[in-house]
C-alpha cells in the first residue's frame, strides 16, 4: 500500500498541547489515495480535514504515524522537498508580483532558464483562459481569475498531486458551480491526482471519485459518493451528508443481509449495510426522506402481503409542510414516529397517505 499509493497516510496523529491536556487535531488517520483519483476530505470546521491536508503538504509534522508520497516516506520533509503543490483557500497569490511572475515562480525558484520559462507561461495563461492578464497584479483580478492564477501556478511545475483547500469557498455561489465543473474537467484532462478539502457535501458528492468523511479528528467513513450517501457508516455521516429520518428499535431476527426490527410495537424490515447487529440489539435505522414514496390510502397492499408486520409501508398523518422551491418537505406523524418525506416540484400530498419505501433504502447504521 505505502509503496504503490500516490499518497498514503499511515495512522497519522497531530497533537496540540492545551490547558486541559492534549488535543488531537487528527487522530490515527489512515488514508490511501491512488494515482489519478479525485479524492475529497469532507468535514465541518474543526474536523481535522485541513490539518490532514497540511500534513500531506508538509506544513505540519505529525507527532505519530508516517506520511508517504509516491512510495517514499516524507513525514519530516519540508514543503519545498515534496512533489505536491497546494491551492490555498485564500489563493495566496504574491501581491507584489504580476500574474505572469506569480505563475513563473516555481520555475524561477528552480532556476529554469528564462528561455524555457517564457513559453510555458504563455501556454499556462492560454490553458487557463487568462491570456490578457499576465501583466496585472492579483489585486486587479476578480475572485474567479485569482483562482485560475493559483491553479496555473500550482500546476506549472507538473506536480504528482494537487492539494486543494476549499478552493471554491471564496467564490460567489453562481460562479462556484461553473468552476466546479472546470476543476473536474482539468483533473480528468491532465490525469492528475486531486486531494480536495471541503465542508460542502454537495461539492464533495458532485466532484469526487472517493470521499473521506472526517469528524473530530477521526475518519468516519471512506467510499464512493453513492456509497456514503446511500449506506452511511454512522449516524454522524448520515446527518452530515443530506437529510435523514432516524428510527430506533430492537432486532428480532436476522437473515441474509436483512433484519426484522421492532419499533414502537411495529415490525419493519431493514437492510444491513456497514454495521451488522446482534439479536435483541437496539439499533438505529435510517431512511432518506426522498426515498419514501407516497400512495393513496386506497392502494395499500392486500392483506396477505402485509401478513403480521408492516414491513415497509405505514399510514401517516401530515403535521407540517415546508416549501423550499425545488422540493417540498412534508412531516408525517406515523406509528413509528415523526417521518419527513421530500417531494420534488409541485407534487401535492393528500391529507392522509400511505408511506412506503424499498427495504434496501432502510438501513441499519451505527448509533454514533
Amino acid at each position: 500500500m505505502k509503496e504503490t499509493s500516490i499518497v498514503y497516510l499511515d495512522s497519522v496523529s497531530k497533537v496540540y498541547p492545551t490547558a486541559q491536556g492534549e488535543f488531537f487535531a487528527a487522530r490515527q488517520v489512515t488514508l490511501d489515495v491512488q494515482a489519478g483519483e479525485f479524492f475529497s476530505i469532507l468535514g465541518s470546521s474543526g474536523s481535522g480535514k485541513t490539518t490532514t491536508l497540511r500534513m500531506i503538504g508538509g506544513f505540519e509534522v505529525p507527532e505519530y504515524g508516517q506520511v508517504w508520497i509516491g512510495g517514499e516516506e516524507v513525514t519530516e520533509l519540508p514543503p519545498y522537498q515534496r512533489n505536491v503543490h497546494t491551492v490555498f483557500q485564500s489563493y495566496a497569490l504574491f501581491p507584489h508580483m504580476t500574474v505572469a511572475q506569480n505563475i513563473a515562480y516555481p520555475l524561477t525558484i528552480a532556476k529554469f532558464p528564462r528561455s524555457e520559462i517564457q513559453p510555458r507561461i504563455t501556454e499556462a495563461l492560454k490553458m487557463f483562459r487568462i491570456e490578457g492578464l499576465g501583466d496585472r497584479y492579483p489585486a486587479q483580478l476578480s475572485g474567479g481569475q485569482q483562482q485560475r492564477v493559483a491553479l496555473a501556478r500550482a500546476l506549472i511545475s507538473r506536480p504528482k498531486v494537487l492539494l486543494l483547500d476549499e478552493p471554491l469557498s471564496a467564490l460567489d455561489a453562481k460562479i462556484r458551480e461553473e468552476v466546479r465543473q472546470e476543476l473536474r474537467d482539468l483533473q480528468h484532462q491532465l490525469n492528475l491526482t486531486f486531494i480536495y478539502v471541503t465542508h460542502d457535501q454537495e461539492e464533495a458528492l458532485a466532484l469526487s471519485d472517493r470521499i473521506a468523511v472526517m469528524h473530530q479528528g477521526k475518519v468516519e467513513q471512506v467510499g464512493a459518493p453513492k456509497d456514503i450517501y446511500d449506506r452511511p457508516a454512522s449516524k454522524f455521516v448520515a446527518q452530515f451528508i443530506g437529510k435523514a429520518n432516524f428510527l430506533s428499535g430492537t432486532v428480532l431476527s436476522l437473515a441474509e443481509g436483512r433484519a426484522q426490527v421492532q419499533i414502537q410495537g411495529q415490525v419493519i424490515e431493514a437492510a444491513i449495510a456497514n454495521h451488522t447487529p446482534q439479536l435483541q440489539e437496539t439499533v438505529t435505522l435510517m431512511i432518506r426522506p426522498e426515498n419514501i414514496k407516497l400512495k393513496d390510502s386506497a392502494s395499500v397492499p392486500s392483506e396477505n402481503q402485509i401478513q403480521n408486520s408492516i414491513q415497509n409501508h405505514i399510514q401517516g398523518q401530515i403535521t407540517g409542510m415546508i416549501y423550499v422551491g425545488q422540493t417540498q418537505e412534508i412531516q408525517y406523524q406515523t406509528p413509528l414516529g415523526q417521518l419527513t418525506v421530500t417531494q420534488l416540484g409541485n407534487a401535492i400530498a393528500q391529507p392522509e397517505n400511505t408511506l412506503s419505501w424499498n427495504i434496501e433504502d432502510c438501513i441499519i447504521i451505527q448509533p454514533e
Binding site: G57, G58, F59, P78, P79, Y80, H85, T86, F88, Q89, S90, A92, L93, F94, P95, H96, Y105, P106, I109, A110, A139, R153, A154, S157
Partner: protein, 263 residues
C-alpha cells in the same frame, strides 16, 4: 431635493479646540522666528528672514548638524535591523511568552531618558569606553529598537501566513521565502520604522548629554545656547527642526497607510 444628513457639530467644534491647543505653541514659535525683533517674544513687529539667514551661516550649527546626521543615520540602521529581528521573534512565538516579549520590548522606550542616560554612562565607564559619537549612537539605538519594532510588528501581524507557506510549497527555501515574499511585504514598514527612529534620534537631548564626548548634536547646541543668549535665531532653527520632524513623521505614517490600503 435630497434630504440632508445630520452632522455631528458639537464634536467637531470640541475637537478643533483640542487641535488648536496642541498647535498654538508651534504657531507662536513660527511667528517669532519671522518676527523683526531681537527678543524671543511677540507682538509681531514685521516680517524678516534675518534669523534664518543668520542660522544658515552659523559654523557651529553646521558642525552640530553634521554630527546629528551621523548619529541619527547610524542609530537608525542599527535600530531598524535589530527591531526587525525583535519583531520576528515576537511574531514567531505564537504561543508562549508572546505578550511578555512585546511588553519587555516596549519598556525601555518608556523609561525616563535620564535613567537610560545614567545607566548607560555607568555601563560604558565600567567597560572603559571613551565617550564619543559612538556611545551616543549606541544609546540612541537602545530606544530606537522598540520604536522601529512597532510598525514592523504591526505589518507582520497582518502578513497572511499562507503567502509564506505558498512560497515554501512552490519550492522556495527559507532564505528565498524571506527575499521573495516577506521582504517585499515588509518594505514599507521598514521605511516607516527607519523614519521614526531617525526622527527620535535626531531630536534627542537627555541621553545625548550623558553619552557625548566633545561633539555636540544639533539639539545639544541649541540647548547650550538657550542658557546664554536666547535669540530668535533659536526659534528659526527650532522651526526648521519641527518642519523636518513633521515631514519625516508624515512620510512614515503615509507609507504605512499606503501599504495598508494596497494590501
Amino acid at each position: 431635493m435630497p434630504r440632508q444628513q445630520p452632522q455631528p457639530r458639537l464634536l467637531a467644534s470640541w475637537s478643533i479646540l483640542v487641535y488648536a491647543f496642541l498647535y498654538l505653541p508651534i504657531a507662536v514659535l513660527i511667528a517669532i522666528s519671522f518676527n523683526d525683533s531681537p527678543i524671543l517674544s511677540l507682538p509681531f513687529k514685521g516680517f524678516t528672514p534675518r534669523w534664518y539667514q543668520q542660522s544658515f551661516a552659523d559654523q557651529a550649527l553646521q558642525a552640530a548638524l553634521v554630527n546629528s546626521l551621523k548619529v541619527a543615520g547610524s542609530a537608525t540602521l542599527l535600530a531598524t535591523f535589530l527591531g526587525l529581528l525583535a519583531a520576528f521573534a515576537i511574531y514567531r512565538h505564537q504561543f508562549f511568552g508572546r505578550n511578555t516579549f512585546r511588553i519587555a520590548l516596549n519598556l525601555p522606550i518608556l523609561l525616563p531618558g535620564i535613567v537610560t542616560g545614567v545607566a548607560m554612562l555607568a555601563y560604558f565607564s565600567d567597560l572603559g569606553w571613551d565617550l564619543s559619537l559612538w556611545t551616543v549612537i549606541l544609546g540612541h539605538t537602545v530606544f530606537g529598537i522598540p520604536v522601529a519594532c512597532g510598525p514592523i510588528l504591526t505589518r507582520l501581524a497582518q502578513f497572511p501566513r499562507s503567502l509564506e507557506e505558498a512560497a515554501y510549497d512552490l519550492g522556495a527555501k527559507p532564505a528565498e521565502v524571506f527575499r521573495d515574499v516577506l521582504f517585499p511585504y515588509l518594505w514599507s514598514a521598514l521605511i516607516s520604522a527607519a523614519l521614526l527612529a531617525f526622527t527620535l534620534s535626531f531630536d534627542e537631548v537627555v541621553v545625548t548629554i550623558f553619552l557625548t564626548g566633545r561633539e555636540n548634536t544639533l539639539p545639544m547646541e541649541i540647548w547650550g545656547r538657550l542658557r546664554t543668549n536666547i535669540t530668535p535665531e533659536i526659534a528659526a532653527v527650532a522651526t526648521l527642526i519641527s518642519l523636518v520632524s513633521g515631514v519625516l513623521v508624515g512620510l512614515s505614517q503615509g507609507t504605512q497607510m499606503n501599504a495598508d490600503g494596497r494590501r
